[in-house]
Symmetry: C2
Subunit: 457 residues, 2 copies
């Protein structure tokens, strides 16, 4: 036995039913909101051609893509010289496919392949696993789900405002009420770079600013200096990064700071328009804050950027996104503007566990277990079983006669809230004993009473 | 552009929103029934250790498993002698993981790994993709979904009866009403082998009988002869394979034929008990027929076996399964009896298309599109948009001012059933024009009327 003891690859997980049920509750909450806002589901294959993925995630990303060995005699087209030239060189000869690394590149690939059939603006969501050969650690897995929603083919800032509304609705519906949505704009970052005399160097500056939370002001300054930003510019940046106040106050300050930057003004105008859209809507719980230190690493963003943090939980951002102007350019289709965002389901799950937000009703599948004492009680129960199921109640009959204790343990383990006891007396009278597994209470009811009681809950 | 023209690997598919919505309708119908019968969802990783999968599907199966290249410098531990020994020998050094080939082996692996935490009987369902390096052809893909439900840890034949009920409920709920469920038992096949003087050789005989539909009686006899079955035995088999009549008639005939075979009697007794269970239930549409030519290829079945065929469609079996007594034995845990079955979703999808069973309501996501003529109509519409969504109506506001024709095309393509026209007159009166996209009818209603109309549908 020990020799064959099976295991799963490190960084991957089995999700047992208790966990799947809770995860599915999150997925279905997200899905419902996406659909309510007109986003439609797309699914792409787990395997993509290696050529589609390579070069899209930087050199480090390329290393982390899981490659699939060609099937059959994969060495057939290789020579010993290929082997001698090493892994990288040999790869091209023995692998043509790889596992999806994110949902963004497959989406861009789909849009380009189907651009003549798609009606733009195209609003799609996609909830599928992705795979990365990262070193596994707490909260980082080699297989994990992404939940993306993107709309491409419109520059309307209504889409940005609706992203805020969707985040607000999903998190509120999950019971997460104390959270902040940070918003910024790449144009504002470009404008700031210009304002401090570093026009065109906003990417380097962003990469440093992005680490403000992690390495502090000192660390950021050190990094900026190492990247060749002058001391004058670094000094000019300080009061800007130190700006305090609510979004309106910040916008007023930036109106002055960015007055000579076309890019900066564009960014500020767009941020204002997003806020204006939102003033027409009622937001449930989201606090939307302009945060000029928000940069987000990914270089393909060109407009608004977002990030969401739960205030009363020990967890990094649980959602983020932004606008990009050239996502499909990587496949030769330029000028398709889009905006998208993503929920981190593993993190939302952990937050909900931490805040104890999963309700018992999110975790129940079977609602009623009918006990099985002997052949007579089993036969008596068969039509009841069907009657309850026909009424829409998920019901099980314990499949064999067994000790009551064993059947009760079964109900406990599956978190079945009610057990129906059908003994000889119950069969004679038709009055069945319905036991509430949480309170221990027991009541005598006829079959229709069982249905009424369970549907009422 | 043409140089970079992206494509997807052969044998894989993108599922566009129109298709995903219809597939999800099938999945959710299946899921609802599984859960109503007390089956709980399980999810296992796409990647399994190669050692878990190898040797479980026969030599041919091993060839069809997609192997994943070790990450990083995968040649680091290899020498040129490994290369020279060829693909098979080299594989062990450069690949440790592979893509899931079915859901049965991962399930067995999960049960063995978690046997101390699981409460038996363990009823699980699993709906996930699997990958096979088969040659792609019509209806055969390299990535496809399996929908399995299994219960392990009980020998109760109530489980078999409930499988019939689940198949009946799922197909009936999908609108498939003319179908047959064939049932047989491995014990009956063993008993027949014994009765014709070929005791213990039922596997060879089954493999041949299994092809009856494809190669006919002559072909089967030829194959039996090639496998060394004597002419006497083949002659004795003919009247048995030719038995006609309903299940009760067949059972009576078999009572005689199998009277000297313990295995045969066990099989027959179990089949009788399944029919007895079913006599306590109302079946909607399923015709359950004992079919002694049903063998099913997989050798791990030991009890009842099933197969489902839609009578009025050009399609092979869309569901099948059976009882096994030693599934977890492959991982060192013997004597765990179970029974399971599986729906072929791709085939069910094709049948539903062929029989035109998808309703428009299965295909709608957005229910209402609000037109966008100019900034004024957009601003007027923003609170309406939220009001409709709050009422639970999936609503979109076209994100920018555009020609009406373009917006109508958008609604058509997305199969949005209603469009709300908000022009200057409508804004003045508050009477909005609600257009039914299917009938072309238009009615003037206030916002609350729009909600009432759409909720009524």
């Amino acid at each position: 036995m020990s020799k064959d003891k099976p295991a799963i690859p490190k960084g991957t997980r089995d999700f047992n039913p208790q966990v799947v049920v809770k995860r599915n509750y999150i997925f279905s909450t997200i899905r419902k909101t996406f659909e309510k806002f007109g986003y439609q589901p797309l699914e792409t294959p787990a395997m993509e051609n290696l050529s589609v993925l390579t070069g899209k995630y930087g050199e480090e990303g390329d290393q982390l893509i899981f490659k699939i060995l060609n099937s059959g005699d994969y060495l057939a087209k290789t020579a010993v010289t290929d082997f001698e030239q090493g892994s990288k060189s040999m790869l091209r000869k023995i692998s043509e496919k790889a596992l999806r690394y994110d949902l963004t590149v497959p989406f861009a690939r789909f849009v380009v392949m189907n651009r003549n059939e798609i009606t733009f603006p195209f609003k799609r969501y996609q909830i599928q696993p992705v795979w990365r050969a990262d070193r596994p650690q707490r909260g980082r897995y080699r297989e994990f789900y992404q939940c993306d929603a993107d709309v491409v083919g419109t520059k309307s800032l209504l889409c940005e405002a609706e992203i805020v509304l969707m985040i607000d609705e999903v998190l509120s519906n999950l019971g997460i009420t104390d959270f902040s949505i940070k918003i910024n704009h790449r144009g504002i970052l470009a404008g700031i770079a210009e304002a401090i005399g570093q026009k065109g160097r906003e990417v380097e500056i962003c990469v440093a600013i992005d680490k403000l939370d992690k390495i502090g002001q000192e660390g950021v300054n050190k990094e900026l200096s190492e990247r060749g930003v002058s001391d004058d510019s670094i000094a000019a940046l300080q009061p800007i990064l130190n700006l305090k106040g609510d979004s309106n106050t910040l916008i007023s300050s930036l109106d002055n700071i960015l007055e000579n930057s076309a890019e900066g003004k564009r960014g500020l105008d767009e941020i204002k328009e997003v806020f204006k859209y939102l003033s027409s809507f009622q937001v449930k719980n989201a606090a939307l804050n302009l945060d000029i230190a928000l940069a987000r690493g990914l270089s393909y963003y060109t407009g608004c950027i977002f990030e969401v943090k739960v205030n009363n939980a020990t967890m990094g951002s649980i959602s983020g996104g932004g606008r990009y102007d050239n996502l499909t350019g990587m496949f030769g289709l330029p000028d398709v503007s889009g905006v998208g965002f993503s929920f981190g389901v593993d993190r939302i799950y952990d937050v909900m566990e931490e805040l104890n937000l999963f309700q018992a009703s999110n975790q129940t599948i079977t609602q009623l277990l009918i006990s099985n004492f002997d052949k007579a009680s089993e036969e008596y129960s068969l039509p009841l079983l069907q009657q309850f199921r026909n009424a829409g109640i998920a019901t099980e009959l314990y499949p064999e006669a067994a000790k009551l204790k064993k059947q009760m343990t079964y109900a406990d383990q599956k978190k079945i809230p009610f057990v129906l006891l059908v003994g000889s007396e119950e069969m004679q009278t038709g009055l069945l004993q319905l036991k509430n597994m949480q309170t221990g209470e027991q009541m005598a009811v006829v079959a229709e009473g069982v249905i009424a009681k369970l549907l009422e809950i």
